[in-house]
């Protein structure tokens, strides 16, 4: 009797705090944050944490990628499809530096990531110890926040902050560097989630007066145009955007990262803006009277020459990040705040409206684009296969339900132009940084986060070979991703520029490629190659029906170009169709 009482008394404080090592604390913190999968690669300085991951493997699944860059991209794919924070882990030195490309990609594309790196013992810091690198210094310009931990007792608070910062406001990557001694040390562990930081205000308050100003301008507009970006997806404001579009009858276009927030088939969805976007929304950007930008940042690939971008229009900018307002395009009204809150506030202030003749201008220009570009991309009459017809077949087979993960280059533009989206968070691509090699590992992460969805990676033959080793991860984890390599034996987008702007001097853009099917088969992945139109249908059916991972190489026309195109430095009005 006395004994049990004593035990009960003893147990009470342990509920609040238990004495554990720093490395066990890392794992416990991740579990507290609801993490179920992490991507990483072990090494000397992170071994204590891996030892704990071994013990906790039934609760926290660690996926061994074949390169640390793959770990960050997989974590990005995981985050982009789920809206949750992706987690990547690596050792010190080269392990940590290999994360940088993925971190930079996540920073520019606002993807919530927590990266944990091991570091040499704190007594060795600055001594050029084995596998020591100043990863805090290196990662500073490409992280939303970073921090080095040298004592075990700091771990819970720092990891809690990391998750809060990564996910809140405009999301981004965070890096935590933990010295080896901090992993070994014991301390009294307890965990408390972070809900505020005094110097950090992630979401500005929506100002009612600004919303009213915006509504007044929109209500008076004759030719309004919405351009939405990823802010709508990150802010989970898809329904609010749809309601605003429909109530005010506004033609609406999207940036590459905004794709899939509104279904492709929506009558007010007028396509993609930007360098290889659709003809109508680019042209008509310079004819609208009110440009309503929602959760987008006027990237140079969207605006073309700023001197001739939407100068005739009043510009309204709905934006969570105050630093984006007036950064590239001067706004008439800026509504700060998250898209969900501000669009909800806007909706009741809008008049029900329609702009049929204005919408007709989009339809007319779509017809022009269809005749000169789309028709030949989707229903080609020439012999060689086009990338567009591959996308069309995938659309047919997936009924627009697949998540499309694209790499960077011509195939990416084709994928984003022609993929049909029926649900949000379905377009996963490297937009801002343009990271070749992104798609294969990102598809792994996406499929693991959303096993119920079809995940199709669309990759060029160049980018594929930048992270091709992740086929090993696919083989080992049996993650059933579909991989489509659109092979033109060229670095196609660079070649296109060489053709258009460098008199066809194809400097280092032709690729002598290996037998991709054999390579996939070497990893025991089902694989097929097609090069004839009559084989395509069947191959895509087979791929989509497959229960396991599947590799499909489609040999496409070698020197096809992606149009429309706004040449660098040109105006959106000067978009070319050929």
């Amino acid at each position: 009797m006395e004994d049990t009482q004593a035990v009960a008394k003893k147990e009470q404080p342990t509920k609040k705090s238990v004495r554990i090592t720093g490395s066990e604390a890392v794992v416990k913190c991740l579990l507290e944050e609801g993490v179920d999968i992490i991507y990483g690669y072990p090494g000397g300085a992170i071994m204590p944490v891996y030892d704990e991951l071994y013990k906790y493997q039934t609760q926290l699944h660690h996926v061994l990628t074949r390169h640390e860059q793959g770990a960050t991209h997989a974590a990005q794919g995981y985050a982009r499809i789920s809206g949750k924070v992706g987690v990547a882990m690596a050792t010190s030195g080269p392990g940590a530096t290999n994360l940088i490309t993925g971190i930079a990609d996540a920073q520019i594309d606002s993807t919530p990531l927590v990266c944990i790196t091991g570091q040499v013992g704190s007594h060795l810091l600055g001594s050029d110890a084995f596998q020591e690198t100043d990863i805090i210094g290196i990662s500073t310009p490409v992280t939303k926040w970073n921090h080095q931990v040298t004592k075990a007792s700091e771990i819970p608070e720092v990891i809690a902050k990391a998750f809060y910062i990564a996910k809140s406001g405009r999301p981004g990557p965070v890096l935590i560097d933990i010295t080896k001694n901090a992993q070994f040390e014991e301390f009294d562990f307890s965990y408390e989630k972070c809900t505020s930081i005094r110097s950090y205000k992630p979401v500005p308050e929506v100002q009612t007066s600004k919303v009213q100003e915006a509504a007044d301008i929109i209500n008076a507009a004759k030719k309004p145009l919405i351009v939405w970006g990823q802010g709508v997806i990150l802010g989970e404001a898809e329904a609010e955007l749809k309601a605003v579009m429909e109530k005010a009858g506004i033609p609406s276009a999207w940036t590459i990262l905004g794709a899939s927030a509104i279904p492709t088939s929506h009558p007010l969805n007028v396509g993609m803006v930007g360098m290889h976007g659709n003809y109508a929304p680019n042209k008509l950007t310079n004819e609208c009277d009110v440009l309503i930008a929602i959760g987008m940042r006027f990237d140079d690939r969207v605006t073309g020459n700023l001197e001739t971008y939407a100068k005739q229009a009043k510009v309204i900018h709905f934006e969570i990040d105050p630093a984006e307002v007036d950064k590239n395009v001067k706004t008439d009204v800026a509504v700060l705040g998250d898209a969900k809150t501000s669009l909800s506030a806007l909706l009741p202030l809008l008049n029900e409206n329609s702009h049929d003749s204005w919408l007709n201008e989009f339809k007319k220009l779509y017809q022009v684009e269809f005749e000169q570009v789309i028709k030949n991309d989707l229903n080609p009459t020439k012999e060689g296969l086009t990338m567009g017809e591959v996308l069309k077949k995938i659309n047919e087979e997936s009924k627009g339900q697949a998540a499309i993960v694209s790499d960077v280059g011509q195939h990416q533009m084709i994928a984003c132009r022609y993929a049909e989206f029926n649900q949000t968070k379905s377009n996963i691509t490297s937009g801002g940084l343009g990271t070749m090699g992104f798609a294969l590992p990102a598809a792994i992460g996406a499929k693991m986060a959303a096993p119920e969805r079809d995940v199709v990676a669309i990759i060029g033959d160049g980018g594929y070979q930048m992270t091709i080793q992740e086929l090993g991860t696919i083989f080992q984890t049996r993650v059933p991703v579909k991989i489509v390599v659109l092979n033109n034996d060229f670095l196609g987008m660079v070649r296109q520029w060489q053709q258009l702007f460098f008199d066809k001097r194809y400097a280092s853009t032709e690729l002598i490629n290996p037998d991709f099917v054999q390579i996939a088969k070497g990893y025991h992945i089902e694989a097929k190659r097609v090069s004839k139109r009559e084989e395509l249908d069947e191959a895509i059916k087979e791929m989509m029906a497959s229960e396991s991972a599947y590799f499909l190489e489609v040999c496409v026309e070698k020197e096809d170009n992606v149009f429309p195109m706004i040449p660098t430095g040109a105006s959106v009005s000067d978009i070319r169709l050929s």
């Binding site: 505020s196 930081i197 630093a323 007036d326």
Partner: protein, 176 residues
């Protein structure tokens, strides 16, 4: 109008954390902007650091830079000012051979008339200190240099604003 470069003094209130200097200077470095001077110290609020950075840029640039600085998680608030909005000073030290203090009576006049402090004197050298505007320090330098200066150093600008900054209230508001 926005394209003319001017001298701006930037005041930044931050948490006191390792690495923040790197994070802030990277914002200038990335845009290839030379930092004319930088000073960091405690501020009027316990535990809050204050940075004073001087740069020559256009107003459009400085506005965007302030946005990028304020975006940093550990930055509480950043401001930019023109010279007329602030009270500012720099400080300098001169190390000069002690013989000159006795051999060159002119030096004693310079010290008296220029509001210069003698920090220390020993057999070998003496050290002068002056705080003031840049041009005053330059004048003093020009006056002393004919006699031979063993060492000279000048600090970055420090400044307080004429207007109130209300950082404490801001911190309270953030916490709520």
């Amino acid at each position: 109008m926005d394209t003319e470069k001017e001298l701006y003094t930037v005041s930044i209130y931050t948490e006191n954390n390792v690495g923040l200097l790197n994070r802030i200077s990277a914002i200038f470095q990335r845009r290839k902007i030379n930092i004319e001077s930088i000073a960091s110290s405690a501020s009027e609020i316990h535990g809050v650091f204050r940075w004073t950075i001087v740069v020559v840029v256009t107003e459009e640039q400085i506005k965007k830079i302030i946005g990028q600085i304020e975006k940093q998680v550990e930055v509480i608030k950043a401001y930019y000012h023109r010279d007329e909005d602030i009270i500012y000073q720099e400080s300098c030290l001169f190390k000069i051979k002690s013989d000159l203090l006795f051999d060159e009576p002119q030096i004693q006049n310079i010290i008296k008339e220029g509001n210069v402090n003698i920090v220390t004197v020993n057999k070998v050298f003496f050290v002068l200190e002056k705080s003031g505007r840049r041009h005053e320090i330059n004048e003093l330098y020009n006056e002393l240099s004919p006699f031979g200066i063993m060492q000279f150093v000048r600090s970055g600008r420090i400044a307080v604003t004429k207007q109130e900054m209300k950082i404490s209230e801001m911190l309270v508001a953030f916490n709520n």
